[in-house]
């Protein structure tokens, strides 16, 4: 769904982003030298396990990191640098041009306000001149957009009267209330059962089709990414290890970590009972004790002391629009060819 009007500037450009927290055990580096872009109209899937830095990245873009975080690098949204913006300027942007869908829909909604009032507020806070009638009409329209039946009655209800899946729909409705250019969905279906997850992914797809919003989907679930993303970015220990179009990333997987992740997943569509799953040795490093050199080196089956333990690999091109940050990527290609 990219626009054809030439090589426009990407919607969002993240360059050399670094997020560090000071802890008792020294600095915790949660995101380190991360660069990527989100292109107009696409769905970018950001995948990684706990502690990979994927959520810190979305919080940094939204300006929602706690004040104790030390953030450096650059985040440009529509050509505008976000990091130097004041809290007030970020508040104007958030919920308007960039919005967020969280994992926990209940926490994102106000328990003592009706759903209709919250939707109206989401609009009026950024468009204070909107009339009451218009706000009412818009609230109903938004609930219908996310597939909530009998929207006229539902807007008078409170969040606790909605099921988990319905609340997540309300959350999406709030997020798209002002036609944001960028929707960041951080684990939007993680707390939900699979049949409800299928409904919510459907809603996200419908919303994107109708509004043309660009989506950055942050998730640990490779299956969700396989079904929804145009491009994929794989994170490990605060670094980008691989980025590419979804098919290349899944079928011509270049980085040993991405390969390991895919091989360690049991598959519902295969008779693999009794077969051993691939195991990635060890565990991810603590953010306070990152290895020098490649962050994945201590667990990597293709490890070579030189250069893997010496220097952090920078992303190199392995295919069209496809990069991997691995010193040994050329050797790996030969081995599997």
């Amino acid at each position: 769904m990219t626009h054809d009007d030439g090589p426009a500037e990407p919607l969002l450009v993240v360059d050399d982003l670094r997020v560090v927290f000071d802890t008792d055990r020294g600095p915790a580096v949660t995101v380190d030298g991360l660069s990527f872009e989100v292109r107009q109209g696409e769905t970018l899937g950001i995948v990684g396990e706990s502690g990979s830095g994927k959520s810190m990245t979305s919080l940094a873009i939204l300006g929602l990191l706690p004040p104790t975080a030390r953030v450096s690098g650059s985040i440009r949204f529509r050509g505008r640098e976000l990091l130097p913006l004041s809290d007030r300027e970020m508040r104007e942007l958030r919920g308007n041009e960039i919005s967020l869908v969280f994992q926990d829909a209940l926490a994102a909604l106000n328990p003592v306000m009706t759903v209709g009032d919250q939707l109206a507020e989401a609009v009026s806070v950024h468009h204070p001149k909107t009339s009451r009638d218009e706000l009412h009409r818009r609230s109903i329209e938004l609930l219908e957009l996310v597939g909530i039946p009998s929207a006229e009655t539902r807007i008078r209800q409170y969040p606790h009267e909605f099921s988990g899946g319905m609340r997540q729909r309300v959350d999406i409705a709030m997020a798209v209330a002002n036609d944001p250019a960028l929707l960041i969905a951080d684990e939007p279906t993680t707390a939900l059962d699979v049949t409800v997850q299928a409904q919510i992914l459907d809603v996200l797809r419908t919303v994107q089709d109708r509004t043309g919003t660009t989506v950055m989907l942050v998730t640990h679930d490779l299956g969700v990414v396989a079904g929804t993303a145009d491009r994929v970015l794989v994170m490990y220990a605060g670094n980008k290890v691989e980025e590419g179009p979804v098919e290349q990333t899944f079928y011509e997987t270049a980085h040993p970590y991405t390969r390991g992740l895919l091989a360690s997943l049991p598959r519902m569509d295969r008779r693999d009972r009794g077969e051993r799953l691939f195991q990635i040795a060890g565990q991810p490093p603590a953010a306070t004790a990152l290895p020098s050199g490649c962050r994945f080196a201590p667990r990597c089956p293709s490890f070579a002391a030189d250069p893997c333990a010496q220097s952090v690999p920078s992303p190199q091109t392995v295919g069209t629009d496809h990069v991997a940050a691995c010193h040994r990527v050329a050797n790996l290609r030969e081995e599997s060819a």
Partner: protein, 327 residues
């Protein structure tokens, strides 16, 4: 269905019913009942894995807890090998409790943070009077068995990662040499790269000791990987059960079909080419389940018959299906 079972069955569950009281009012009086498990029957041959899947609130965890008697059954029976355990008194049950053990979901909450791992593993040995005189040796054996360093027995749970803690949880369950393990979501709190190690370990342990597993999980991919047979639960009942490949490759119950079609597969071409059955609505409250077939309020095949009569499990294509409209 009545599960009669054969001599080689390690666990036989017959028409099991578990209820919880609903309390309310000024003095928390009992004002109603939720039937979390409504007449479930299944049997697991020794050395095999029965995977129990279903979504939040379907009763699968309650079933597991009833089987190990953390919760009392209202009616029905649970037979462990030749012992009828659901009718045993508390003291009589103690003598067979060793033979069936539960592994919990949350390795962060289920280990006492004040005890060393050695003490955690020695505790069940003391309780059951096992390995007197060589308990430290047994603790080291257990750690080795689950792939941990025996030298770490003096460490505390906090010093271990989630995956390592789950290994400790498994070692604790194995300490008393049980025949059956009830595994309640043992990998759902873990990252995928860690999950694979635990699944491989469970597979190895089953082969080595001939263990029987009741594997309770919401992740259908994990269940397929580990199970010989699978049962799909919806609102307290098993709607379909049979050999894992048959059920996954040709699901017959509408709920099983919808559930399987909703599971994302980590393969873009397959994932985008699949037919997805998106169910309408939400699961009804177990306190007030629909009459007849409990799935009928969300089922696209439902007719008047479904509201009038509860479908009984029928044997079709090598599996049991409880649906009026499956042929």
């Amino acid at each position: 269905m009545t599960a009669t079972g054969t001599r080689s069955d390690a666990l036989v569950i017959d028409r099991l019913v578990t209820e919880y009281p609903i309390r309310g009012g000024l003095f928390s009086r009992r004002i109603g009942t939720v039937q979390a498990v409504s007449g479930v029957s299944l049997r697991i041959p020794a050395g095999q894995t029965f995977g129990l899947v279903g979504e939040t609130g379907c009763g699968k965890s309650t079933l597991g807890r009833t089987v190990v008697r953390l919760v009392d059954a209202q009616s029905g029976s649970v037979r462990l090998g030749d012992a009828e355990i659901s009718s045993l008194g508390k003291s009589a049950f103690r003598s067979v409790r060793r033979r069936i053990q539960l592994v919990f979901q949350d390795p962060y909450a289920s280990l006492n943070p004040r005890l060393s791992v050695g003490a955690i593993l020695a505790e069940p040995l003391i309780v059951h009077g096992l390995h007197t005189g060589r308990r430290q040796e047994r603790v080291r054996e257990l750690l080795e068995l689950v792939g941990l360093d025996p030298a770490h027995a003096s460490r505390f749970p906090l010093e271990f990662s989630g995956g390592q803690r789950q290994r400790i949880g498994i070692a604790r369950a194995l300490a008393v040499e049980p025949e059956v393990l009830v595994l309640d979501e043992p990998v759902s709190a873990l990252d995928v790269s860690v999950q694979a190690g635990i699944l491989n370990l469970l597979d190895d342990l089953q082969r080595e000791f001939g263990l029987t597993y009741l594997f309770i999980a919401h992740d259908l991919s994990v269940v397929r990987h580990l199970s010989h047979e699978v049962g799909v639960m919806y609102l307290g009942t098993i709607v379909e059960q049979g050999p894992v490949d048959e059920v996954y490759e040709n699901p017959l119950h509408p709920y099983t079909r919808a559930l399987l079609s909703a599971v994302p597969i980590a393969d873009p071409r397959i994932e985008r080419g699949r037919e997805r059955i998106v169910l309408r609505g939400d699961v009804p409250s177990p306190a007030n389940p629909p009459s007849g077939c409990r799935f009928r309020t969300r089922c696209w095949k439902a007719t008047d018959l479904c509201a009038a009569e509860t479908p009984q499990p029928r044997l079709l294509d090598n599996r049991l299906v409880a649906c009026h409209h499956t042929d």
